[in-house]
Symmetry: C7
Subunit: 261 residues, 7 copies
């Protein structure tokens, strides 16, 4: 590599000068482009109220400082290269980079998963979804994390790369389902009629929630001492609990009225 | 590497010019081919109603922009190569690429799995399948994900690479199966006859669903206080629930008629 | 590397021409061999009725097209090599290849497992086997997947690489086993005699299924209020359920006859 | 590499001297910068009472000593490089570095996760959160670990990289929920009225805790012998237990007063 | 690299010829050695009846064919090397090899585990062992898999690399153990005497199986309504079930005789 | 590389001699430094009674012997380097080193985790902690393992890298908690008064253990037939069991006195 | 690389001869050293009766044969190196080595774990330990595996690398613990006195086993219908079962004597 010192002609000196200029210019351009990209990336996020702006500025400052250190160090090493072999330093940096790369895997997986959630429209803010053991209304879909608010008020924060299966309850009508148990010695036919009456009453009472009238599905379990009967209805998303509670209350009253228990 | 500056003959200059032309031409051709491939890949997908077209255009724009940046940067580096050692930059890019490659593993696994699902015809739109804990009618089989609609109306979205075992309920006749429990002190023979009567009635009542008449399989459990008897039938796919509910209702009535409980 | 342009003798020119010819010839030969291998690999699979032929032709077309692109691109790069450093491109392709290699691991593992299943004859079409949670009659043993049909009619599709343990029920006689519970205060000796009677009757009733007469194994549990007695028989594969149900029915009747419960 | 000994001109000697100076200067500068960075990193942490200062000084001393050994060893190797091939040593160090890199993965993952917890404000000191099986008030959010104090007084220490899902109970109102069971033969309407009375009393008794008055949600389970009724209220964070206990006590008394059980 | 064409002296031509001869000779020798090794590896396996010979011949043919292709291709590439840069091809093959290497990991792990099972004599054909959830008599210990026949007649096939813990029941005497429950209000001393009587009778009845006479170990559980007493015996391998059933039968009869329940 | 044999000037011979001297000197120095480091590392551990000294001396001897072999082998290879290409040997050593590096991962992870346990003062000797399923008093915190003595006297030895979550029971007051169940038909108010009396008595009886007087928290469960009431107290670490047992005994006596059950 | 053929001076020929001699000598020395190391490694293991000697000789023969093949092949390749590029062969061997290295990971992990078990004296032959689900007396601690004999007579063989947590029951006194349940309506004080009497009797009856007299710990559970009282004692290792059985028997008799149940 120190060949330019051996040849005394002008080409070598010109080449060395061109080299220095190229390194410095590339460093300057790289720095400017990097700073511009950082600014642009952070500007594209929509403005939000809760201190997001302040945190974004902090992040931008940190990233710009890191970029400046990295570019200057690299330029210095490139300038010194004809005088010392930088391969040991590069190898060390490579091992460090590898360790960081392994550690950052999950970050990259989160972002890739987040991109596909958005691109494939798997769920959107306001949907009621279940992600593994956590379920709730979607409050935010980000590139890295998803925030869910469950019915108890808790806020679940889940990295996108951890999502194995999305179950979306807000895409199309849902099924309300109530199981009623009667004693095995009861008259089955009469009980079915009482329950059909309760279904008709519920359809009238909750017209906005019920899409397709509740009906008696049939006998779903025949245990030694009990018979289990299922009622189902097609309802609007997020009204399942309401329709099921109404169905249960009316079913009990209807069975009580006829003397069945 | 800077040898062409040391030799003053024409070959060197011609070589340098050829080099520049080759780099620029390759960059241009690569860009054109890449853009064409992006356009073709996105056009081959069948047109669908739900905003898919709009998302595809967005994705194409993003990909083309990323391609343009990458090709131009690479061409610039190649042009500068005789003046500065680009190996440190390449090593950095390699580590970054490695991290992305690790992170993107699951994406590649999804696509490979999706290809084999389609090529081996493991399931198709409209089949009722079970994938681990999620079961439902297949709404979409994509290269990356599969969408299932379960009987409760929920939409399950599962990456293909997460599918460990496919259980398909729509390939051939299914088995309806009902277990009836009678007290151990009852007369077993008489109970079996009542249940056979219920089987005959069900076969007559549901001729379209039942492929092979329900029959009494035998005594499947002999517990201290109870005897469990199993009825089975071969039925058309997706009619299992219906036939089982009918069988249960008729079994109860038939046992009640004869005075068995 | 561009040394051949510096030496003006004939060797250099001849060498350059030889180089071009070698690259083009190797590309052509590689293409022809690849195409022949693809055709041969797909022809060796036995013809099957269900659209397999059509899918095989599609796959062959896709593979040939991919091969043609890859070989031509590689040849072009090799021809350009004296004029531009193709190492950056190779490094990029290496990272891509690595990511694909990681993603394709499970495919390779499937094929290796499939090869050993066939070579070691672990199971064959028609055997009843259990693979983890899925059990059924083997419908197909492929290099990549195994298809099982369970007793409920469901079709299970399992990648071979996911198989951790094979349990084969069709290699040699199986054991039918029935546990009978009697009250602890009953006379044990008399109950054992009743059950031996039931065993003798069953052996007579099912001569084809029973390989070695059912017998009373002994008292397998002595709980506070109950005594559990086990009956076993050696039976032909796939007849366990039938023999066990018959044994249970006859045991109950035999105990009832003698007044034991 | 030993070419500078073959050329007897002054360039070579100058180059060798420049090389030695460059190595020594770079080593000195690297050492100073490293020491400064260590000092700065440890100073930025806020001062804390519990022996943290002393431990920070110890760590700084260890890190500086390690840095000095590493830089001096590297400089020595670089100076010796023209006389012996240091690649074997580098390869050995690379393997060692790789092993350490693999081992340190979880450390890097912890720090990356910690950064995102802070940057995305997933939780803060004083919040009540659940991280997998551990739940409690956050006592410290560090870059590497999070400390939780649970209601039993135990201190949980969890590395940030182990956090798969954050459930935050301190972001917005929470839901207090009490399930009351009455016998199935009771009069449902009268019981509901008693419970509504208890709700009104609780709202009056705990005005600071209750955000939105407790109300009777409806019948949430209809078991063979029992009917389960749910009461819910929107309450301030961390007061759920208090409101639920008050609701339970008043519900029991209200039901007792009216003679329902 | 094409330097030998630039020097017109005899050394270069001799060197080129030597090179061609060396490549061709090495290829021929490598092929012969490889074929010999394949034949030897397959011959060393002991002859077995069940179609093993036929499968071994098939495997040998496949391996020899693969070897011939690989060696010839490699020789061709080496001959062409002075005319074209084969590094791109090598890199591609490396990625492919890496993918296969990853996929074949479990195969290598199986063989290493199998070697240690044999070398450390962990179990042998005829032993009764438990490997995780599978237990049975060992039918075959191979380098790659182990075959177990369980008491139900099922054949379990387990890759050796999946074996995490071996539990061998055939190395030394085993313990038969029976727990007897009596009511808490019974006279404990009298019950213990009855059970000791049963132990003595069993030792006399099964002299071949019992190594060390059954004895009453003592009270192992004192539940609210019951007292649990344990009987143990040291017995020959594989006779545990027999001794335990005999002990249970005699314990019940002995307790009945004395009027204890 | 063998260029120094081609140049007949003195520089080459001097360079060769310098090379040999440099290699031998570096080997000698490396050996001395390595031996010193081994001695120092083992001396820093505090002297302990149980054969630790003897084991440390054995380990030092093993390590020094391994170091001497490794350094001498490396020096020999470096001396031979101008005469033979040592890259194949290096590649082989690299693969071996990689395998060892992978195998030693968990060792490195243990030490890193141990360092952070000590540096962050997660627990100390004498604390009562829970690590996953093992809980006990800390007997030793080492760089690689932690030893716990549980209340049953068992000694648990856990590698630090396996610790996923530390739960420390000795940092601050703990909560004693007792749940008392009364029948649902009992007078709730009177029962609460009895329990408050028991709390007051316990605070008087155990003044050293109780930090903050036991109190009745309220009704924590309202089951069909029972009402569950919780008593809590803030107590000194490791006295929870004692306070809870005292509270239970006094609660039972207080309820008995008043005639509540 | 073939430069030595171009220079016709004596140095080149001398260098080539030196090269051949160096390769052959190194191969011979390496072979001798390797054989000596194999012999030494196998001789150091203590002689054991059960066929170990024979197996060690077999292993030594296999290893020496493998070493001879490997060294000769490597020497041949090094001799041929000036005439053909051996890098493709090395790359192939590298991939193979990598695959074997991955597969052998668990072997290396086993040996590292075994070394630390011995060096840290985690357990020794004769200790009663629990390793995950397997527990028993240690029969052998090897570098690769540990053999345990459990109380039922089964022999457990566990690779050391699979050991996640060691629980040693033979390091210090153990705790015997018996829980006695009395009805809730009983007089608590009188029952405690009866149990204290049983404790005193047991301490007298088993003086060798009991280190610290059994005592009544207190009320550990207060269930709706029952009160649970715990007795504890400090006992010698491996006598827990004996002391607990004696305590249970005497507690029952003591309670019976006083009329408590």
């Amino acid at each position: 590599m120190p060949q330019f010192l051996e040849t005394s002609n002008l080409y070598a000196i010109g080449h060395a000068l061109l080299r220095i200029v190229a390194i410095l210019a590339t460093a300057r351009v790289g720095l400017a482009v990097g700073n511009a990209l950082i600014g642009r990336a952070l500007k594209q996020a929509p403005p939000r109220g809760d201190g997001y702006e302040r945190r974004a500025l902090t992040l931008a400052a940190i990233l710009r400082s890191a970029l400046r250190y990295a570019v200057n160090l690299l330029a210095l090493l490139l300038l010194l290269q004809p005088f010392l072999d930088i391969r040991p330093l590069l190898a060390g940096a490579g091992v460090l980079g590898l360790a960081i790369g392994f550690g950052a895997q999950s970050l990259i997986r989160d972002v890739i998963s987040g991109f596909f959630i958005l691109f494939e429209d798997q769920f959107a803010v306001g949907d009621y979804i279940a992600l593994g053991e956590a379920a709730g209304l979607v409050e935010e879909v980000g590139l890295r994390i998803t925030r869910l608010r469950d019915s108890g008020g808790q806020l679940h924060i889940i990295p996108n790369g951890r999502i194995e299966r999305v179950t979306n309850h807000s895409r199309g009508p849902q099924r309300a389902q109530v199981d009623i148990t009667i004693a095995r010695q009861e008259n089955l036919q009469r009980a079915l009629e009482s329950l059909e009456q309760a279904c008709r009453e519920t359809a009238v009472a909750l017209p906005a929630q019920v899409k397709e009238g509740p009906k008696v599905l049939g006998v779903v379990d025949l245990r030694p001492a009990e018979v289990q009967i299922r009622l189902v209805a097609s309802v609007a998303p997020l009204t399942q609990g309401e329709v099921e509670r109404e169905l249960r209350r009316r079913a009990k009253e209807s069975l009580d009225r006829r003397g069945d228990k």
